[in-house]
Symmetry: C2
Subunit: 229 residues, 2 copies
């Protein structure tokens, strides 16, 4: 058993809302998309459901609004959302300390991977925005059948790092990341950058909550991640 416990845990990081500041753009893009198919939604309700896989998100929003959409209409909403987000992308920025966290861990040989509900193309664009090597290990919805809060993305990422999932720390801005961490029987850590509160993230199971990736980097020791040995 001891053999399977590496010296330091690996980091499995969410992308949107955790490394990149785009939750509010996504929320408004979803509102616009649903309105175009005749479903008015309040933005705060959308906000609280972002971070699930796209199809689960749509199901959740429809359930909440008491409306129904046929499969073709759901596909249309998803395309409308992608276009509405695209129009807002020019305002999307890296989150404080995001690039520095990834570089710092790389330089110190801490295993890390990104696990995101986004598709490969979107994820690659974000790596570019973060000025991170496109070869950085990344698992997207194109790689696994089910996305968050299903733990599949994180399990796949742990596999690629050749690290037992129980020895990984999952970092995310939403309660859905924390739910996925619990379903994967591992440790979740929250960041406030998605607009969830510390209370919400802790109640969902977060072991610690940091303000942003910059604060997380300064406190890696609190997660048992030691640089020097």
């Amino acid at each position: 058993m001891l053999k399977t416990v590496p010296r330091v845990p690996a980091l499995l990081l969410d992308l949107d809302g955790t490394l990149v500041d785009d939750v509010y753009e996504h929320a408004l893009a979803w509102q616009e998309a649903f309105e175009e198919v005749g479903i008015p939604l309040t933005v705060w309700r959308i906000h609280k459901q972002i971070g699930m896989s796209g199809s689960l998100f749509v199901e959740s929003v429809l359930e909440d609004s008491g409306r129904h959409l046929a499969a073709a209409e759901i596909e249309r909403v998803q395309k409308l959302h992608a276009a509405a987000y695209e129009r807002r992308f020019h305002q999307v920025r890296p989150l404080p300390g995001a690039r520095e966290l990834l570089v710092h861990c790389s330089q110190n040989h801490i295993k890390q991977a990104i696990a995101t509900s986004a598709d490969r193309d979107s994820a690659q664009r974000m790596l570019k925005l973060l000025d991170i090597d496109p070869e950085f290990p990344i698992v997207t919805c194109d790689d696994v059948p089910d996305s968050k809060p299903h733990p599949g993305l994180f399990l796949e990422a742990a596999g690629r790092l050749d690290c037992p999932i129980s020895q990984c720390v999952i970092v995310g801005d939403t309660v859905w990341d924390q739910l996925a961490a619990r379903r994967a029987s591992t440790i979740g850590v929250g960041v406030l950058t998605g607009g969830y509160t510390e209370d919400e993230l802790c109640r969902a199971g977060a072991y610690r909550v940091y303000r942003d990736p910059a604060e997380l980097r300064r406190h890696l020791c609190e997660l048992g991640i030691q640089m020097k040995h």
Copy 2:
């Protein structure tokens, strides 16, 4: 003393985020404005400070970012924000049940007024969006020297309704409305439409928290507001 206690309390309502769904547009507009003067901000931090008076908001954001701006630059940021918000206004919608709440109270002779940190022109435009009579009682930052969380707006509104402030219920989506209610020694009620959680609003002093104006209207009895007698 009994003479000063009316049969039912009056409602003093915040506007942006409480009756109108525009908090997320404001947050992104502020981010854009500050970036133009060289101050990058994360959207969630802006979000958590919205609802204060404009000048206090700017001071709070600057303090948070550790930056300083001269008076002329602050004025410029405020103008940039107004322009950036204007470009997003086409997406702003009334919140569920907002108009119905106001109409319902009018029809039942419940005293009510809007008290908003916005200026008179912005407030009038919102009344139009809500399809509410422009003569609706409304107090804006043009009417009092200090805005939220100073209680001045609410005290002035209570005065106009000729109702003791202690017999008014203040309804708002932010913790700043709740702080103003406490400073006015009266009762605050929260709505979730601004993206704050029930926990945050209750800890700030909210007596009750409702999902949106629609749910508030269905529960007016819980605030001692009786329609029939």
